[in-house]
């Protein structure tokens, strides 16, 4: 069963508190800190009082505990089955790890049990040894906070060479591609890992270089759409744009019209534009005027084909 208290934040917090007491840290502030970091907004009202007033009989009056061992529990069958599913995923090769022995465990699912029907078909080559090696080097550099030297194909297919700090690896399920987000480089913020020809981890002092070229901040822009809730357009629109920060208000009860505000990264403007177009007349751009103009430009061109 997935919704089970053994996986709950409260159990986790109590486990951490008991582990802390076992290691002789009886500091109450530390316990409050554990609660605030690992549970919910109002958990502090329940957890510590319940432990202290003996509702949960795990801590004595003197803040000692009768629990003797680090209170970890073994993995559940469900957790092992999910791990087994991971171990069978082709992307697991990207990670340089020795997977635990799960020989007697059935997977919860395999790739034949689910089908991602709208993923783009030019995803990254997860079986390619060179790709795997580059991915691992970048992952290692991020974990060790080390800079890298990269040779890569640019978007225009030129070969570029640069040094940078890899900060994060970004994955898009839609594109089925990994990109590395970098700083300390004036040529690129993000680079597709599959475009990298060569990657070398450096151990040089790179700090000055990093401070010279700071990472560009993602700049958010907002559009406002008027959604006409025919053919379940509102549900489709809200699901479609659900990964963005968004807000919806009902314009009128009778007409089933809704105003939807969406914030997006301005680097993704073209993508957002064609996604808005995909809703046809059911999502009308109210503002900004500049975005509306982009739609108009496309419609003007389309009109010339007389369809």
């Amino acid at each position: 069963m997935l919704f089970n208290e053994i996986y709950s934040s409260y159990y986790k917090v109590v486990r951490l508190i008991l582990a802390s007491l076992i290691s002789d840290n009886k500091n109450e502030e530390n316990m409050e800190d554990i609660i605030n970091k690992n549970a919910f907004g109002e958990s502090f009202l329940t957890i510590l009082p319940s432990l202290k007033n003996e509702k949960w009989q795990l801590i004595n009056k003197d803040m000692s505990t009768n629990i003797k061992n680090n209170p970890q529990i073994p993995l559940t069958t469900l957790e092992k089955m999910w791990l087994k599913s991971i171990s069978l995923d082709k992307r697991i090769k990207l990670f340089d790890i020795d997977f635990p022995n799960l020989d007697n465990i059935e997977p919860l699912f395999t790739e034949s049990d689910y089908y991602v029907y709208d993923k783009y078909c030019d995803g990254d080559p997860y079986d390619d040894e060179k790709y795997i090696s580059i991915f691992r080097k970048i992952l290692k550099a991020i974990k060790l906070s080390l800079p890298v030297k990269i040779n890569a194909h640019s978007g225009k297919d030129n070969i570029i060479y640069f040094k940078c700090f890899p900060k994060k690896i970004e994955y898009s399920q839609k594109d089925d591609k990994f990109r590395v987000i970098v700083s300390g480089c004036r040529y690129a913020d993000v680079i597709n890992i599959n475009r990298i020809i060569e990657c070398k981890i450096c151990d040089s002092d790179f700090k000055l270089y990093e401070s010279k070229y700071k990472k560009k901040e993602n700049k958010l822009e907002e559009i406002e759409l008027l959604v006409n809730d025919e053919r379940r357009a509102l549900n489709r629109c809200m699901n479609h744009f659900s990964h963005f920060e968004k807000e919806v208000t009902k314009v009128s009860d009778n007409e089933k019209k809704y105003l939807v505000k969406i914030k997006y990264d301005k680097n993704d403007k073209t993508e957002v534009l064609i996604r808005v177009l995909s809703f046809g007349p059911l999502a009308y751009v109210v503002s900004p005027e500049s975005f509306k103009e982009l739609i108009r430009e496309r419609l003007l061109l389309q009109r010339e084909y007389n369809i």
Binding site: Y7, Y11, Y114, Y120, N239, R303
Partner: protein, 412 residues
Amino acid sequence: MSSYNELIKNFEKVRSYIHDFYIYGFKTREQYDKKSLRSYDDERRRIESWLGEYVKSNRSDEGKNIFISIDSRDVTCNPLYKIWKAKSFTDRDITLHFIIFDILCKANISHTIVEIMEIIDEEYLYNFCEPIFFDESTVRKKLNEYCDEGLIIKEKLNKKVIYRRSEDICIDDLYDVLIYFSEVLPCGVIGSFLLDRINYSKEIFSFKHHFITGSIDSEVLLNIFLAIREKKVINFFNNSRNNSDKKRIHVLPLEVFISVQDGKQCLLGYNIDFETIKSFRIDNISDVQFEEVDLRFDEFKNELNEMKKSMWGVSVSPLKNKNETVEFTIKVKQSEKHIVRRLMREKRIGVVKEIDNCTYQFFASVYNSGELMPWIRTFICRIVDIHFSNPIIDKRFKNDLKKMYEMYEIKN
């Protein structure tokens, strides 16, 4: 009157609130007519407590509306997983939990239930003012629950039943694997449970086009996968707008279809009552119950694999050999080869033919050509010709285009 509790017993109740707050978020307190206002207040307070900064509100003439707004690119761990960690329990549950696993602290330590009860009284509760009394049936019930979860193993030794903890698996080295897969694989919340067991700090991954809503349907999805594994029929309530009579539907699950463009998850399964393969949105499914094994699983799975050749999305057709066709042609400039690449990578089951250096034709034969309309519209400004064999769809596409010209005041 029961007092407010941050934790909940029943996930199903909160599932619909999360859906309303996250997907819609425009309803005011008074518009939640299906539940009492008190219940609304409690659920809202809980969701605020669980999701904190992601819960926002607006005030209009109609009242205050609460909504959840998350830019999933900014989060490295799906915030909705927290809801799965809010299960309520009793004082006795939590006390017994930690004591049992302390008694059975290693896989080579085993005890009978009588021994466990003696140890509880003598070593764990003796110095509390009013020690909780655990009777044998309570302890046995808890041990059996843990056996079902795979945490504890029950064995017979010299006619006595003994309990020991199951063998553990070390996952300390898996944290970057878990961070990644818990966000991209189905039932990723289980990965989040695993991450709760280890210490990790560095945020290595971020996710673009990341649809997190499906995570609130994880229990349904889990049961579907378990049924697929065992080739079992399930029955469930389908709360779709087309199924107002609330009858249980009997289905042999075959495969889960997942969209990475809007996060939609569908079950494709053989509907026992209608004797046909159908799709069911997983967010509409509730209360899954397992039935018998159906030996026809492989036969229907093969049928579904054949059907995929005519499926653009999740629509299936009861009419065999009655496919609809769609054909459109786009024109690109010499400098717009990226559009051609886009057409190629997004064509799914369609076929693309190069007419000349700047003209490309797409063709597909599918069950439901209406499913292609949104995608085809993304090529607006380049479509020189289009034809759907289904006249209703053909007319709708062209009328929609006309409406857009009117809306944006594009004159002849």
